[in-house]
Amino acid sequence: MIAKQTNQKAWFMVLPVFLVVAFSAVIPLMTVVNYSVQDTFGNNVFTWVGMDWFKDLIHSERFHAAFLKQLMFSGIILLIEVPLGIMIALAMPKKGWGVPVCLISMALPLLIPWNVVGTIWQIFGRVDIGLLGHSLASLGFDYNYTQDPIAAWITLIIMDVWHWTSLVVLLCYAGLCSIPEAYYQAAKIDGASRWSVFRYIQLPKMQRVLLIAILLRFMDSFMIYTEPFVITGGGPGNSTTFMSIDLVKLAIGQFDLGPAAAMSLVYFLVILLLCWVFYTVMSNIGEESSNGGK
């Protein structure tokens, strides 16, 4: 790293970005904060309620349930997508015609609008017209994602794995491609096992991209809205009502601005906090292994 020159005029270069993002972020956020401490009965009459909405929220079972479901969903998909992504990245060809084929077909799900992803899986999973639903039904499985909560969960998880594992694969693959061939030759001379090659050469090299992959996947899965909204609409019952879905129901469906605003703030803070924890833990591990692994 070269030492950077101190130059306060650099602020002028950052200013346009700062203004646009501030316009899109700070004003709406202030609106939310404003609503979260007030109550309204319509006609733009607001009364100050202080922390009441937050107290209600902390004790609300509906919020606890949505939060737990959200945490469980993010946890499950991280546990599946990260190891699976690493495995596929390790097995991908390094050169030849297979590379563009893999890259293009794997990037494809990432560029499909999220509600179309929902539509694809809605069609694919239906028992009457879908390939997956029909095959499972004819094999004798009792599968119907519109009625059975477990089937709905499984459908959503498989859908997310289908949609996003490629991101982990592409990132890990890029990390693996940056390893010089000499490292592998050295490992071969030392008689290193397949596992120690992975543990001491490939994993450390993937660490940085893996951190980004996990952070992005965590943030995005924690905010997931469109796909479950299209496929299950939060049902059957409330079994797939994740935080975003619950929030939109509360804010736009019932127009309970105060509670919705309080929930928004808590939601946002939880994401910030968890990301910060992830980030700190992961980068500490990164520093330790790069210091100790030399």
């Binding site: 950077k4 993002v21 899109s24 890259l103 943030m219």
Partner: protein, 265 residues
């Protein structure tokens, strides 16, 4: 180890199966979809696609989406270029805090912002315009663009800047004539990701539009809830939303690998 190619192969088949099914459905008539279960269309029909190409309420959705995505990509890249340069070359008061604050906006759940955005853009008279959606998408695309571009710019040696200044280049001339050509592939990758996240986003785009700027993805959800029956047309519309993405991937496939290699997304 000889069977190593099987893993990506199985994965790609898993990825392509639902897409195959969508294409299959889009080429069938509704009677065939609902009455019999066939792995490929028995009476091949393009009627579903004709519906979309001839009905203005369908194809205008594609045009709207394209317009606001393009505006967003242009804004994101042009605004992010100088900012990323500042972050990669200079240190100034509050730079680290500013960078982290920008990134936190990438983490903000759109559901949190949907309602305030609606009120904000209504009050300044931008509701239901392309520019409103484009600016709203800057919330997550601008930080991302700054992040990616900063990565690319930090890879360019500082000596290039210094030599140019010694040669008497002014900053704007140096930036356009020398610096931008050097990070062309970085700009390509940035544009790709801005395109991607703006193209796939639905919640904000749907909240901020009613008629004139309604994106194709919102038109599709309307059809689902209203009739819920015309599966063939729905599938055809889905296939058509995949195509622009597929084209973009094809054109930037070599740049993507490079962009990922720098460890930025």
């Amino acid at each position: 180890m000889r069977l190593k190619w099987l893993i990506p192969a199985i994965y790609i088949i898993f990825l392509l199966l639902p897409i195959y099914w969508l294409v299959n459905m889009s080429l069938k008539t509704n009677e065939e979809i609902l009455s019999v279960f066939t792995l490929w269309p028995r009476d091949l029909t393009f009627a579903n696609y004709m519906v979309i190409f001839t009905d203005a309420s369908w194809y205008s959705g594609y045009i709207n989406s394209m317009i606001y995505v393009s505006i967003n990509v242009v804004i994101s890249v042009t605004f992010a270029l100088p900012a990323a340069y500042a972050f990669s070359r200079y240190s100034f008061v509050g730079d680290k805090h500013l960078f982290f604050w920008l990134l936190t906006n990438r983490m903000a759940p759109p559901a949190v912002f949907a309602l305030p955005f609606f009120q904000l853009y209504s009050s300044i008279g931008l509701f239901d315009t392309h520019i409103a959606v484009a600016i709203a998408h800057c919330l997550f695309n601008l930080p991302l663009a700054v992040w990616i571009l900063e990565g690319f710019m930090s890879g360019i040696p500082k000596e290039i800047d210094e030599t140019a200044f010694v040669d008497g280049y002014s900053w704007p001339r140096f930036f356009i004539k020398i610096f931008i050509p050097n990070i062309a592939s970085g700009i390509g990758v940035t544009a790709f990701f801005c395109f991607m996240f703006s193209w796939v986003e639905l919640l904000l785009a749907r909240t901020l539009t009613a008629v004139n700027a309604k994106p194709i993805s919102a038109i599709m959800t309307r059809t689902v809830s209203a009739s819920g029956l015309d599966w063939g047309v729905l599938a055809a519309a889905g296939v058509l939303t995949i195509l622009p993405g597929a084209l973009v991937i094809y054109f930037v496939r070599n740049h993507i690998a490079k962009g990922f290699a720098l460890g930025r997304v």
